[in-house]
C-alpha cells in the first residue's frame, strides 16, 4: 500500500532550494492499495516528478506522512531505505542508464546489487531484453542506442527484479505506438501479478486506452484521485 497523508515538499538542496523556496507539493493526500494501478497526470511543473521522488524515496517529505509498501518512510534507517528501494522499479524520464555499462550490465545492476545468483541474473536479464526487443544489443553501450532503445533498457532494468511497486515517469515518451502498446501490456501483466503501478504521463490517449484511476496534479495539489 502507498499512503500519503497531508504531504508537503520543499526541496532542501539543488536549484531553487532554500527557506524561501516554494512548496512543490502542498497537502497531498491519497492511498493506493497493494496491486493498484494509477495514472499520474497534470501539466508540466504540477509536481508529478516530485511526487514520484517521494514514492521512490529519493526525497523526504517536508511535512506529512508517507507510507511506501506499508512502511512509514520517515522512520527508515538508511539501510532499510536502500532495501526498500530494491522492491521498487523505477523508469526515469531521462532513462538514467550508466554510460560505461552495456545494456546487459545496466539491466543486471539491480539484481547484482541485491546479490542475486549470476545464473539467475543471466536468465532473467536475457529474457527481459528479448522481451523488449533488444536481444541483439545486449553488449551495446547506451551511447550506441537510440532514445527509444535506451528507454527500453531503462524499462527492462525497472521490471527485471519483479518489483512490488513500479513507478514510471513518461515511459512512452520515446516509444512508437507499437512499443508503447507492448510496454503497457507488460505493465498491466505485472499489475495483474500483484505489482502496484504508478505511471506519470501527458499522453491522454494512453490514459483513455488503458482506463485506471487518476492522480491528477495541479500546482502541487492533487485535484482528482478517484
Amino acid at each position: 500500500m502507498i499512503r500519503f497523508d497531508d504531504v508537503w515538499l520543499k526541496y532542501r538542496s539543488g536549484q531553487g532550494a532554500g527557506p524561501s523556496a516554494p512548496d512543490v507539493l502542498r497537502g497531498v493526500t491519497f492511498e493506493i492499495p497493494d496491486g493498484g494501478f494509477r495514472w499520474l497526470t497534470g501539466p508540466s511543473g504540477a509536481g508529478k516528478t516530485s511526487l514520484l521522488k517521494l514514492i521512490t524515496l529519493s526525497e523526504p517529505a517536508s511535512r506529512g506522512r508517507v507510507e511506501i509498501l506499508g512502511i512509514h518512510a520517515a522512520r527508515l534507517s538508511r539501510r532499510e531505505a536502500a532495501l526498500l528501494r530494491r522492491r521498487i522499479g523505477v523508469v526515469y524520464q531521462d532513462f538514467r542508464l550508466l554510460p560505461h555499462l552495456s545494456a546487459y550490465d545496466n539491466v543486471a545492476l539491480p539484481m547484482r546489487l541485491a546479490r542475486r545468483n549470476e545464473d539467475q541474473i543471466r536468465a532473467d536479464v536475457t529474457e527481459i531484453l528479448n522481451w523488449v526487443g533488444l536481444n541483439d544489443k545486449i553488449e551495446a553501450l547506451p551511447d550506441a542506442l537510440s532514445g527509444g532503445e535506451q528507454q527500453r533498457v531503462a524499462i527492462a532494468r525497472a521490471v527485471v527484479g519483479r518489483p512490488k511497486l513500479l513507478v514510471a515517469d513518461e515511459p512512452t515518451g520515446n516509444l512508437d505506438d507499437d512499443q508503447a502498446v507492448r510496454l503497457m501490456m507488460l505493465f498491466t501483466a505485472l499489475n495483474r501479478l500483484g505489482t502496484t503501478v504508478v505511471v506519470a504521463t501527458h499522453n491522454r490517449n494512453l490514459v483513455a486506452r488503458y482506463p485506471a484511476q487518476l492522480l491528477d496534479m495541479q500546482e502541487g495539489r492533487l485535484t482528482e484521485h478517484d
Binding site: 524515496l57 529519493s58 536502500a82 550490465d105 546489487l113 549470476e118 541474473i121 532494468r157
Partner: protein, 296 residues
C-alpha cells in the same frame, strides 16, 4: 563478450574516475619519506645504544698528588690497589706521562712539564657493573682523598636525550606524512565522487547500500595506495643502503665495516604498504559515507 562475474563489473566506473596515476605517485612519495623517517629513528636507536654502551662502561680516575704517601704506599698505588680489587672494574691502566701530556696539549700547549703544574695521575678502567660505580668513588676517596672518578654516564644521558629528540622528530614526520596521505586520498575520493555523482545517484536509487558504494571507493583507493606505497618503499631502499654505508664507520669501527640496515627496518618497511592501504581504505570509507548523507 558478456561479463557475467559480478566482481569484475566496475559499476561506478572508478577505474577511470579515481585518480589512477596521481594518487599512487603521491602516496609513493609519502611512503618514500616515511621509509626514510622510520630508518632514521631505528638507526638513531642503534647508534645511541652503541654509543651509550661504550660511554657508560668507561671510568676515568684523576689522582691529585699521585706521589704523596697514603697508607704505606703512594696515593697512586693505593688507588690502583682499590681498582684491582673492586668487583666490576676491568683493565685499570695508568696513563703514562706522554699520554697525559697529549691529552692536555690542546689546553696547556705541547710542553706541559715546563709549566711545573701539579698534574694529577690519570687512570682509565672499564666498568661492567653491577649498578653504578658510586660506591667505587667513595672507596677511592677513602684510599686517596681528593681522587675524582668520572664516568661516561653524563655522555650517555646526553646521547639518550639526543636520540629521543631524533625519534620524536621522526614520529612527527610520520604523523605529517600520514596526515598528508589522508588528505590526498580524501581529495582524490571527493574528485571521484564529483565525477561519478550521477552514477552514484543511479545505483543509490536502485537500492545500493552506503556500504556497497563506500566499499567500491575504498577498495579502489586501497589498491592505488598499496601500489604507490610499494613503489615508494622500493625506491627508498637504495637510498637507505647508501645512508647505511655512510653511517657504517660510526656503528662498526674498523676496516671491515660495511653497510647494515637496522634489523627492525625489515619488519617496518613491509608494513608501510599495509598502513597505506589502511589509510586509503579508511579515508575513502569515511569520505564517501559522509558524502552519501547528502542523498536521501
Amino acid at each position: 563478450m558478456i561479463r557475467f562475474g559480478r566482481s569484475r563489473i566496475d559499476h561506478l566506473g572508478l577505474r577511470s574516475a579515481l585518480a589512477d596515476r596521481l594518487l599512487p605517485v603521491l602516496v609513493g612519495a609519502m611512503s618514500f619519506l616515511a621509509a626514510l623517517a622510520i630508518a632514521g629513528t631505528l638507526a638513531a636507536a642503534v647508534l645511541a645504544a652503541h654509543w651509550q654502551g661504550g660511554a657508560a662502561g668507561e671510568l676515568t680516575i684523576q689522582v691529585p698528588n699521585p706521589e704523596a704517601p697514603a697508607g704505606g704506599a703512594t696515593r697512586e698505588a693505593a688507588v690502583l690497589g682499590v681498582l684491582l680489587t673492586s668487583p666490576g672494574v676491568t683493565n685499570p691502566q695508568l696513563l703514562g706521562q706522554a699520554q697525559v701530556d697529549r691529552l692536555l696539549a690542546p689546553w696547556l700547549g705541547p710542553d706541559v712539564a715546563a709549566l711545573a703544574l701539579p698534574i694529577p695521575a690519570v687512570i682509565t678502567a672499564g666498568w661492567q657493573g653491577p649498578g653504578t660505580p658510586d660506591a667505587l668513588g667513595a672507596a677511592l676517596s677513602s684510599a686517596a682523598p681528593g681522587t675524582l672518578l668520572s664516568t661516561g654516564a653524563a655522555w650517555a644521558a646526553r646521547v639518550a636525550t639526543l636520540t629521543a629528540s631524533l625519534q620524536a622528530c621522526a614520529a612527527v614526520v610520520l604523523i605529517i606524512v600520514a596526515f598528508i596521505a589522508t588528505c590526498m586520498v580524501s581529495l582524490a575520493t571527493r574528485s571521484g565522487l564529483a565525477q561519478r555523482r550521477e552514477a552514484i545517484e543511479i545505483i543509490h536509487g536502485l537500492g545500493a547500500l552506503d556500504s556497497d558504494i563506500a566499499g567500491r571507493f575504498a577498495g579502489r583507493a586501497a589498491t592505488l595506495a598499496v601500489t604507490g606505497a610499494v613503489i615508494g618503499t622500493l625506491l627508498a631502499l637504495p637510498v637507505l643502503f647508501w645512508l647505511a654505508t655512510l653511517a657504517a664507520p660510526f656503528v662498526n669501527p674498523g676496516p671491515q665495516a660495511g653497510p647494515a640496515l637496522p634489523p627492525g627496518l625489515w619488519v617496518a618497511l613491509p608494513m608501510l604498504p599495509l598502513f597505506a592501504a589502511l589509510i586509503g581504505w579508511g579515508t575513502a570509507q569515511l569520505t564517501v559515507r559522509g558524502w552519501l548523507r547528502n542523498l536521501a
